[in-house]
Structures are given as structure tokens and as C-alpha cells.
Point group: C2
Chain length 184, copies 2
Amino acid sequence: MPNGSDPWESRGERPIQDFGIFKASEVERRGPHGKTGRFVILDAPDWGVVVPILTRNGARYVLAVRQFRHGSGTVSLEFPGGVVESGEDPERAAARELREETGYTAGRLTLLGDLSPNPAILTNRFRVYLAEDLRPEGDQSLDEHEIVDVREIPEEEFLESLGGPGWDHALMLAAAFLYVRRRG
Amino acid sequence: MPNGSDPWESRGERPIQDFGIFKASEVERRGPHGKTGRFVILDAPDWGVVVPILTRNGARYVLAVRQFRHGSGTVSLEFPGGVVESGEDPERAAARELREETGYTAGRLTLLGDLSPNPAILTNRFRVYLAEDLRPEGDQSLDEHEIVDVREIPEEEFLESLGGPGWDHALMLAAAFLYVRRRG
């Protein structure tokens, strides 16, 4: 009897369309039930976010960014992050995004997790880093259509508010899960 | 000076391609910086997952499902869930997916959160429910290409393993964040 732990066998793949930020392909695969199906998947560059923790007078703050997002058509509060460029080391990409979006650099970056943002449709990885020993190094350095506000939010307030309106980016809650588990 | 909390103004939208499980569109929007850009977004039906908690002899277990995923090309351990059908109530969809994938029904469903799976590119919502008072009601009832194993995993083992190989679906960690915060 076929079971869910059996891998499917690839029978080919054809590109459908390149959208720049991701490419759509159709894969043909044969499953453990002996049937063949065709499935649309999206190939995107890897993504990463940084959970930046500022410590001041013994209190912890999260450095978060606010920006308009075109999928939801709403303003979203998030951890800094973005796309890993082709050939770029993921940790360097995380450090770069932190610097560009917030103006801060981190004395220490720790990988909290290496996830799939959505294995049903996406081929790429989503890495989560903890950033500590933060130091302001200058102004933001943003792309043409990036307009990003930086906010320092007391850690407990941040963790309690996550999931509410404007704080509802699911990948950020995944990052928060990894952070809270590590922090204990 | 433009800031990240200012919404962008829509200047139009054109469909690009309908892939069945999602549709790609291009939106044109004018930002608070006075510039206009074009952005590719994906319109998908809403998604939902259920965190099903079984209690037996005072111990808690998570009812998880294992299945091959075509984006990652790997087997993934997940909470039961799926797509909200057109016109379907999201809570009914969650109850239906739980029943179809595991054979269990829930005496009580509680909304834990209403998230965006990825506001940068997706327009849809991702709802997370807690399912309690679970009762086995019969066999699974799966679609043609669904092959799903059901596993009962001790809750602490599940929460510690989340994020590791095969347990790395980021949206499931987002659901776990909401569950752990509610459980306390």
C-alpha cells in the first residue's frame, strides 16, 4: 500500500514562465500509487530574515521594519530580511539586509533554522538568523521601491502582538517560534 | 518624506496567467515616493491548518500528517490542512480537511490566528485553528494524488523537532507559535 513517506519519481520538468522574482515550472512525477501527475511549482531564490535583538538597560527590544507589501496590499511589520543573491553566502545576505534596511550591523549572527517557506509550491529555502551585539553604522541603503521604517519594540510587546492586524506575516511567526524556543 | 507606513495607490492590475492553484497578476502602484512600479503578485484561495491535540492518560499528542510535497520535492511532516473552497466557511474547511486527512473530527475548533502566508507576493489568508475533543470517525478520504500518513507525536517531541529536516514547513512553525502562545 502506498504511503506518504514514499518519495515521488521525477518524470521531467518544463519551464512555464519567468516572472523575475520567481519562475513557474510544471513538474511531472510518478507517485507510490503508480499514477503520474503534473504539478505547478515556483522556483525562487532563497530568502532570509534576521531577528535583531537590542539590549538596553537590561531590557530587550526587537528591531522591526515596516513597509508596504504588494501581495497583501497592506503595510506589514516584519523582521528585516530579503533575497539571497545568486552565489551569495546566506549569512552574508542576512547581514547585508540588516545593514541596508536598518542601518545596524551585528557583532554576532546565529542560524536559528533552515526552513522551506512552503514546500507545496516553492522550491527555495528560508533561513532565520538571530542578530546580537547590534551597532548603528549609518543610514539605510534601500532599493528604488523600498520605503522602510525602522522601529524598536519591547520584546514582550512584540511577541504578544505578533499575529494581529499588520503583524500577520506568517513567515515572521515561524522566525519568532525559533527565536522563542532558543531563548527559552 | 515618504515612510513605510504610507499605503501605495493602485493604478491598475492585469492578469498574467492562471495556474489553477494560483493566478499570477501584475499590479501597478504609485508609492509615497511619487514613483510608480509594477509588481507580480499571486492570487490564491485561502489556506488553513488545524493543530489537532489528542489527550490520552493526561499526556498530549499532536496529530500530524506526512506527505510528499512537489515544491520542495521532499516528504514533509505537517499539521492537517488545505485550501478553503470557493464560498466555503474557513472553519468548515478546517474541519473538513481534518476529517479527510486524518479520519478524526473535532468537538471544538478555536481560531488561533488569521495570517498572511506571504504578504510580499500572495494575496490570500492563512488561518490556524486549534482542534480539541478529537474523535476517530472512520477512514481518510483523499484526493486522487493525496497520499497521507497520520502520526501521533508526543507534544513536546513535536515542538522540539519542528524546524529540523522533514519538519521544516515554515507555515507549520507559524501555527506552532500561535499554539504555544495560547497554551502558555
